[in-house]
Every structure is written in structure tokens, then in C-alpha cells.
Symmetry: C2
Subunit: 630 residues, 2 copies
């Protein structure tokens, strides 16, 4: 087993330049809320002007929702050893409903903290954990239901809104704001996201802000069908490879490309320490599947799991700051035989562990029977539930079957229990589902789980393309996002085959950003089309640099362009490599347009035709040469 | 201009091993029709048995629709200099409605054939072209409407059917044939594709078999919404790069990965010669945009185009054997001003050329005014129309606008004209369209164009991901295929940025094979799920080699697996690299299943629980080691 991070020396913990270099022509801005400590980061992309016959015409900057944290900010001082700046401690403290503990209250947490052999692995600046005062409930849902708008809620309102009201009042943005009406399938996205709207959505359970009081470094974000569709990424050293340092680098890499949340699925001997490093440096909410770690504690024997071990693990992780837990409480004993005739049985790790436990003991799933006690823990730290789909289909053949939908109904029942405790909930879903059966999943989830945010893996829409499952699943993800899924769990090209490397992670994230954005556009999210419009305008006007800079992956776009036309001069060329200068349809169209826009078609007389011929001669001068520089 | 294929020496024309090596565990079989010269190729993948407690259990071979031509057949002798074997000349000759000409009848064709300077580039074994006898019509539609089932129709019926009736009668396939009902949006795919069904679909215009009488080498295939969704790929040396030899290699590469048809979009000085090499070696229908070559003949000046030049080009290409022509006859003068307010004007090359011609002459598009004459040419060789969407949207902003839909209505009008001549027609569509507006395109096409097969580029569902537009468009393609599009035109990662290399072509094709297959599954195409079921079964049973071999890209699947677990022994491992041996959910599930399937849950007593613990111990023995070899 090569899982031991033997080479992880604290003093050298550094990120590569690759994961931190700023995006081109971009700067980090902060929009301040109603109080100076609410400062919401956004990325502003500056564009070049359009050259017209009347001189240069400004192209106003475009704002991009920014998940990258301080890492892409050249002004920020990054120190992995110290962790990210603390954004929320003040907000949490001023609510006066929490107390600072002396140290971890979980047995395992204490043990790890006191083990001198772990000193070289341990994050140096450990905070003592915070917990709700006895009898208090510190969830965002609890506050929302009392009518309180927390700083977190205001933060996400600003973040979702992306200054849209200001853009609407600015005539430079009039054309960029053009957008097609959406088809929302019942979502009700307002023209402007207000803090009150956020509060209301959280109060009714339609959205969540995963934000553990012990993860004050995070930049709050919201998950719900009336907000931007989000994406989750997974990292984790498997039993077979990788070190802590690699995991932190992967987390930052994930943030860079657009991961909204991140699940740490690490296994192996040092998951506690790895998690601490990740949390202290993570700008996004972190999720885990606590049962994985619990299983490590019983040497991988599912049948030896117990409520006590899991309980201690939940507290251990909650006190580190994990923001949401996947809890497979819907895998009921009576559902297990429903999987016996499946083509691919139970493919969820958590699901199979619990199924095995249930059968071994012939007892009901202890996560189900202890669910209210879990709620008590969740609300003391504000950990959100991600109710796990342990019986999700692992092949098209098993899609939407009795096992899958029985579990979904139970997740609905558990949602009601969690909400009774004001604990935030999202519902995990899909897996492998053919296109025509995707919608049923969404419809059923909305009905059975009372519009709690749906969080789906893919779905993968055909089983026959291992090595391309980011794509098979991206197709399903775009559709289910459109239908109403609030967060899409990414899939990488290595799914079903191996462990993703950094390039796989990037490929998976960009695919899912595409799916999420396609869904936003399809639902009609206000402002969603601005970036598309700005990029297409740049493309049409041959502003190559702007086209690159506005794209989801500016580095790859530039690299691909340069593979065919490497010279800097080609980036101001009024043609592209597909057609060459003679055939450039965009160029021809520009000419057509200049005429058509200014003349009524009836007036296109001989003089005009001559003018066009002149123009044609002009842009035909030479083969590969550039005929006009901007 | 580096377009001149100076290094193309006929005697060395060879394909690389990479494009011809057979697929693993696969063999080419041929299914014979009602006469011995109808021999339809399919790929048969042999699988390993499943190891059970009762001994090995056979997994029957899986048939895969095979587009790769003889190139992947180790028994076939490939000689690019001689071209592929002639499959259809006998069929064509026996109809006695064609005549062998003395040589090309186009002025340009004669000129090229007689130019001694082209000798080193010219394909050696030029056939003299064939043409319909005076007054005869040789289109598949013409035969179909007379009630004649041609060998081509029988060929495609066998090809589409994939021996499904035999599989249904074979008990080994019972489980693999399990499939979810589709949602067909009005498509009516029969349980079994018969030659008579093919004839009927062609007669009514709902499907086409592009098969020029001068391309006897092709393996007939059908395009229509009641058949498998097909994909088209594009190749073409741009003005800026590539040689003839590269183009032929790309064509074979495209066939290998699953391109059903191929458009040769070459420009530059030797497109006539390049096309000849491609056609003589192409097992799939070849399409072109003749206006591109016509434009070369007038030195790239759209306004100097004339009907006479285009007419000569159509005949030149028809006599070489091009199977379908993109004809932009729907770009009407009065539609051009409709594009003036667009964000991205006219982005189709053909569309912009015609628009420019219309404006320069202030006359109606000569392809429109000469449309009946074009039909006369088409029916003399059986070239199918691909009615071009010259006004397709180049950005989300321009989707489904007045210009696009006005042209679509005109394409419907032209469809009726073509059908009056019994000429086969498909309709080009989409471009950039957000998800919620995709369906309208399909609905409108079916209505306006009387169910003529729709052939769409993508659509791309967001503009913001250059370098990933195979994915943005694959999402749109899967959906529009599901809604009823008959053929999807692929997009590569280099779209909007540069010229695709071989890896880009492969990536684009696989993405589109996924989209087409996802659409087949969603429509409920009988038998579509066999490959999914067989692959998922292999996956669940840890038959790694079978999983690779059944996938769309066996080489990439294996490569990705080996990146994490390189050893041969790992390919028989009962775990995968994501979870490692301890956590393998599939393994755990297999255990659960063994018990759950054999016992009623109530009987799971202590003895059984003990048995499970025993089992658990057994597969836990060691870390990374393999605990069971098959």
C-alpha cells in the first residue's frame, strides 16, 4: 500500500504555479454587502474594444461567478501552513449561540490530536472546535425559519446576483443582456436574488447553504433549484495511491476550474489529517461520506460497524468543519432483496456497506434507526445532510427500478424528520439512466422529497463508453439540471477505469460547468447569457484574445488555437484556421452586414455592388497573410 | 500556402498501423442476404465466460454495427492505389438504366484528367463514369416509389437489423435483450427492419440511402428517423495545411471510430484529385459542398460565381461518385437582411458565399432559381440533396430566429420539388441553440419539410466553452437525436479554434457515437441496449477485458485503466482502482446478491450471518493483492 504520505513535509507544502496563476485579463473584485465584512469575490474579465469605422467601441467587462477562492488573486498571500483567512468566525460568534470547546469531543479526534507520531502530518494551526450551546440550533435553516437573514444569506444573494441590477441600469450592457426565455419545469427564479428570497428558500427547504461553524474559511454558496446550478467534484487518495500534498493541490485545482463544492472521499490511514489540511485551505464547502472512515476504524469489516463508531466519526468530522455528510440512511433492510435481480446489484460504496451490515445483522440500517440522533449532531454544527442514494442504478438496465425509487421515498420521509430539526437537506440521485427516463427521476424527487435540492451523479446515459463517461454523464447532467437538479456531481474520464489525475479532474469539471451553464440557460436564469453573448461577439469580431479569456478554460482554448496558428499575429487575424483567409464566412458576413444594415435591400444598386467588389478585392489580397490588423 | 501535397508519392501511399489494426477480440463477419453478392459486414466481439460456483457460464458474442469497412479486417488486402473492392457495380449494371460514358462530361473533369502535371497526384485506376440513360432516373427513391426493393435496400435492412430476429430466438440472449421502452416523439421504429420497410421509408422520403452510381465501393447505409441515428464527420485540408495522403488516412480513421458518412470539405488546388483518392477508398457515403470548389474556380470571388460554373462542378463531382451535395438553395435574397441584427450574422461558409452573391447581383440565389436543373443532375447519378442551412445560428443569441426559420420553410418547399423528381433529400439544421429551444427545431423541421431526414450540426448548447465544443454540442446532439434527427454532424474539440488532428477527430467521433447511441436508447430502438447490458454485466463481473472490448473505444478504455493499474494481473482483479480491494462495492454486492437471491430475507439467520463474515474475511485477506483470479 503506497497510501502513506511519507514525503509530506510540512515546511515544503506548496502549490504549483499551475493551480494558482491568475486567469488572463482577469482581476478579482469584491462586492461589499450591508456590512464591511461581507465581501463577495467575483472575477472581472476586461475586454478589448471593437474597432469600427467610427473608431474604437468599448466592450464592458464581464463578471464571472468565481469559485477559485483567493488562490487566483495575485494580491492574496497564500500559506497552506496557516490556512485561508477566516471569513465567518465573527458572524458565528456574534450569534452567541455557540461555544468554543477545549478540544475535540470525539474519542478519535482526541486520539489523533494526541498521537505524537502524527506530528509531522498534522496541520499546525488547529483551532479548537466550536459547537452549539446546549439546546441551541445553529443551522442556517433554523435562522431562516425565525426570519433571520444571516450574513451568509446576504453573501450568497450578492454572489448569485452577480451585480445584475447594476448591469441592467448600465446602457453598455443592454445588448449583452439579451436572453431567450427559459423553460423552467416549475422552478421560479426571480429577476433579482434578494437576501430575503434566499432566506425564504432556505426556510422552506428548497435550498441549502452548507456552512459548518467549524469551517469559517469558506465562501458561502447556495444549492437550490432557484439558483445557479452547481457542480460538485470528488477527490480522495484511494488505498492505492497519492499523498496529502497532492490532495490539497487537487482541491485548489478543483476550485480553479469551477468546482462549487468538493467531496473528500479519501481512504487509508491518514484521512483525518488529510481532511484537516483540505478544510483549512478550502474556500468551498467540503462533504464526506463518514461511513468510509468508520469502516476504516473496523478494519474494513462492514458487519462490525456500529452506531457508536459512526457517531464518534460524525462528531470528529463535524468538529473539523465538514459541511455536508452523505448519510445512506435510506438503504433499508427490506429494500436489499429488491436489488437481487439487478444486472449490476448495488454499486454505491456506501449502499453496499450498509446493505451488507443489514443482512449480516438482519436488522434495520442503524443510520435509519438513529436518524434523529444524527440530526442532533448535525444541528449542533450546522452540517447539512446529503441523503445518500445507496441503491442508485449502476447500469441502464437497473434505472428507475423498485429499489431505487423505494429508497427515494424513504429519503423523503427522512427529509421531513431532518426538517423537523431544522437541519438542511439535499437528496442524492441518478447514476446510470437513459435519456428518456431522466425526467422521471426529477419529477419523483420533487414530489417525494418536497423540493429538497436534488444532487445527482450524472446521470450516465449509456454504458458503452468507458473513458468518455464525463461526456456520457454530462449529457444526462445537462438535462437533469435543466429539469431542476440543483447540484451536479461530476464524473471524470477515468470513471469505471482508474483514478483521475489532474487533467482528468479539469476535463470533468469543465464538462460539468458546461452542463450546469447549459441548464441555467435552459431554465432562463437571469443574466446567464451575458457571457455567451460577450464571447460570441468577440468571436464574430475576431477578438481572439477576448474569446479565449471569456471561455471556461482560457488556457486550453488558446493552446488549441495556437496548435494550428501559433503566431501572435494570428490572434489579431480576421480569419480562422478552419477556413483560411479566402473562405472566412464571418468576414464575408461582416461585409454583407455592413451593407445590409445600412441600405435597404432595394437600394443596392450598381455602385454598391462595385463597392462590395472593391471590398472583396481588399480582403483577398493574400493567402495565409493577415489582411487587416485591428 | 502549404496546401500542395508535394510529398505525396503514389507508390508509397500507405495507411498507418494505427488506423487499420483490428479491434481486440473482434472479427468481421458477413451476413448474406437473398443473393450471394449481398454480404453485410458486422463486427462480432467474443467474450470470456463468467466464472460461477457451478463452473464457467458462456457469454454469447455481441454484434456491433460496423462502419470501418475492410480496413479492420485482417483478411482483407488493402491497396490504396487500387481502391476498395467494387460492391455495387453488378447491382447498378443489372438495372440496365445507366450507361458507361467515355470519360468525364464536365469541362473541369476533362481538364484535370488531361493535365500531365497532375499525373503524380492522380489516382491510377480511374473508372470511366456512369450516368443514367437519357430519360431514366436512377435514384433509390425512384425505385422505391415503383415498388422495387433494390439490393441496396436489402443490404441496409440487414445492416440495421443486426440479426435481431436470430438473437431473439436464442435463449443465451434473453437477458441481454432486456430494454426500457423508448419515448419516440412520433418516430415509428418497427420491431424488425425488413427490406420492404426500408423501401417504404425511402419512397415517402422519410429516409435516404446516399449511394451514387459512381461510388460502387460503398457499403450502403440508411439515414432516417426510424433507423439508427447516424453521425457524419468532416475532413478537409484547409488552405493552410495537410496533404492528400493525410486526408485518406483521416477518412479511414473516421470510418474506424464510427463515422457513418463523411464530408470532404477540402479546399485548395488539388481538391479534385484528393476527392478521387478518398472516394475510391471510402466504404461510407461521401458528401461535399460543391460551392466551395466552384469558388476556387473563380479565385475566391463569390460575386463571380455563376450557374454554369456550379453546374459543371456538380457534374464533375457526381461523376467522381460523391453521394450527397450540400446545396444552399434556401438562402434567399429577401432573407439576407434578416441577419443584419444578428449577434453573429451568417456563420455558414456556404450561406455567406450565397448571401454575398445575392447582394452583389441583387438577384435571387441561382441555386434556388436553377433548382430543377440541379434535380436533373442529381437523378442522373443518384446524388442526394443535403439542403444546406446557410442561415444557421452562430451563437445562442441568434437561435431559432426569423432568418433561420424562413430558410427552413424554403428548404421544405425545395424538398417538394426534389421529391417531384424522385431525388433523395435530407435537411441540414442547428448550430448554436440553447437546450430549451432544441425541440422546436425538430418539430418545425418535421412539419415544414415533411419528415425528410434532419441532419444537424450539434447543436452547441452554450457558447462559452471553445476547446470543449464536442461536448457542448454532444449534449445538444443527444437531445435532438432523441427528438428525431436522423444524422448528427460531429464537432471536434478544435471547433472555432483550429484544424482537428487525428486525436481531435477520434474524440469528436466518439462523443457523437455516444450522442447517437443515447438517442437510439431514448427512442427505444429495438436491440439498442444489448451492448450496454453486455458491457455492464462484464463490468459487474470484473471481466475487465470484456469491458474494454465492448466499449466504443477499447484502446482508450484499456489505456486509462492501465494508467492506474498497469499490471496484466489487475485485469482479472476483483476490484477496481477507485476503491481498492477493501471497499469494492461491486464485490460486496456480489456477496449480498449471492445470499439475497438464494434466501428469503427472513431466513437470514445466525448461520448465514456467520457465512457472510467468513466471506468477508476471505476477500479481505490482503491489501493491494488480488484475492481471486478468474
Amino acid at each position: 500500500m503506497s497510501a502513506i504520505p511519507h514525503d509530506f513535509v510540512r515546511k515544503t507544502a506548496q502549490l504549483s504555479e499551475e493551480v494558482t496563476r491568475p486567469f488572463p485579463n482577469s482581476r478579482k473584485i469584491h462586492v461589499t454587502g450591508s456590512r464591511p465584512d461581507i465581501r463577495v469575490p467575483m472575477r472581472e474579465v476586461t475586454l478589448t474594444p471593437t474597432q469600427t469605422n467610427q473608431g474604437p467601441e468599448e466592450n464592458p467587462p464581464v463578471l464571472i461567478y468565481d469559485t477559485s477562492g483567493p488562490y487566483t488573486d495575485p494580491e492574496a498571500r497564500i500559506d497552506l501552513l496557516a490556512g485561508l483567512p477566516d471569513i465567518r468566525s465573527g458572524w458565528i460568534a456574534e450569534r452567541e449561540d455557540t461555544e468554543q470547546l477545549d478540544g475535540p469531543t470525539s474519542a478519535f479526534g482526541r486520539e489523533r490530536q494526541n498521537d505524537p507520531q502524527l506530528a509531522h502530518l498534522r496541520f499546525e494551526h488547529l483551532r479548537t472546535p466550536r459547537r452549539a450551546k446546549s439546546g441551541r440550533n445553529v443551522t442556517q435553516m433554523h435562522y431562516a425559519r425565525q426570519g433571520i437573514i444571516t450574513p451568509e444569506m446576504e453573501y450568497v444573494a450578492i454572489r448569485e446576483n452577480m451585480r445584475l441590477d447594476e448591469l441592467r441600469a448600465d446602457p453598455r450592457y443592454a445588448k449583452l443582456l439579451r436572453q431567450h426565455p427559459g423553460q423552467s419545469f416549475g422552478a421560479a427564479i426571480p429577476e433579482t436574488i434578494t437576501p430575503e428570497f434566499v432566506r425564504d428558500e432556505i426556510a422552506c427547504g428548497r435550498a441549502i447553504i452548507p456552512a459548518n461553524i467549524n469551517h469559517p474559511e469558506l465562501e458561502p454558496m447556495i444549492i437550490g433549484r432557484n439558483f445557479r446550478v452547481k457542480i460538485n467534484t470528488n477527490i480522495g487518495n484511494s488505498a492505492l495511491t497519492s499523498s496529502i500534498e497532492e490532495e490539497v493541490e487537487k482541491m485548489v485545482w478543483s476550485a480553479r476550474w469551477g468546482g462549487d463544492t468538493l467531496m473528500d472521499l479519501s481512504t487509508g490511514k491518514h484521512i483525518h489529517e488529510t481532511r484537516e489540511w483540505i478544510l483549512r485551505n478550502a474556500p468551498m464547502p467540503i462533504g464526506t461520506v463518514p461511513i468510509y472512515q468508520a469502516l476504516e476504524k473496523v478494519d474494513g469489516k462492514p458487519e462490525e460497524l456500529s452506531w457508536e463508531i459512526v457517531r464518534d466519526t460524525l462528531i470528529e468530522q463535524a468538529e473539523q468543519g465538514v459541511d455536508y455528510f452523505t448519510i445512506h440512511a435510506g438503504v433499508l433492510l427490506r429494500y436489499v432483496p429488491l436489488t437481487a435481480d439487478r444486472l449490476t446489484g448495488i454499486v454505491s460504496r456506501g449502499g453496499s456497506i450498509l446493505a451488507k451490515w443489514c443482512l449480516a445483522h438482519h436488522q434495520e440500517n442503524f443510520l435509519y434507526t438513529h436518524f434523529e440522533e444524527i440530526c442532533e449532531i448535525m444541528k449542533a454544527y450546522d452540517v447539512a445532510f446529503s441523503l445518500g442514494d445507496g441503491l442508485r442504478p449502476g447500469s441502464l438496465a437497473d434505472a428507475n427500478d423498485a429499489a431505487q425509487f423505494a429508497e427515494l421515498e424513504t429519503l423523503g420521509e427522512l427529509t421531513q424528520v431532518a426538517w423537523k430539526h431544522d437541519v438542511q437537506v439535499m437528496i442524492e440521485g441518478p447514476g446510470h439512466v437513459p435519456l428518456q427516463m431522466v425526467r422521471e427521476n426529477m419529477t419523483k424527487e420533487l414530489a417525494d422529497c418536497f423540493e429538497a435540492p436534488f444532487y445527482t451523479l450524472g446521470p450516465i446515459v449509456t454504458d458503452i463508453a468507458p473513458a468518455y463517461d464525463h461526456i456520457t454523464s454530462g449529457m444526462g447532467a445537462a438535462n437533469i439540471g435543466w429539469y431542476g437538479t440543483a447540484m451536479l456531481c461530476y464524473v471524470t474520464p477515468k470513471e469505471h477505469l482508474g483514478l483521475p489525475n489532474k487533467e482528468d479532474v479539469r476535463e470533468g469539471i469543465i464538462t460539468y460547468k458546461i452542463a450546469a451553464h447549459a441548464a441555467d440557460l435552459a431554465k432562463g436564469l437571469p443574466g446567464a447569457q451575458i457571457q455567451d453573448n460577450a464571447l460570441s461577439k468577440a468571436r464574430f469580431e475576431f477578438r481572439w484574445e477576448d474569446q479565449f479569456n471569456l471561455s471556461l478554460d482560457p488556457e486550453r482554448a488558446r493552446e488549441y488555437h495556437d496548435a494550428t496558428l501559433p503566431h501572435q499575429s494570428h490572434k489579431v487575424a480576421h480569419f480562422c484556421s478552419m477556413c483560411g483567409p479566402h473562405f472566412c464566412s464571418m468576414k464575408i458576413t461582416q461585409d454583407v452586414r455592413d451593407y445590409a444594415a445600412n441600405q435597404r435591400i432595394e437600394n443596392l444598386d450598381a455602385a454598391v455592388a462595385e463597392g462590395m467588389r472593391e471590398k472583396a478585392r481588399e480582403f483577398r489580397e493574400d493567402g495565409a497573410a493577415i489582411y487587416k490588423a485591428v
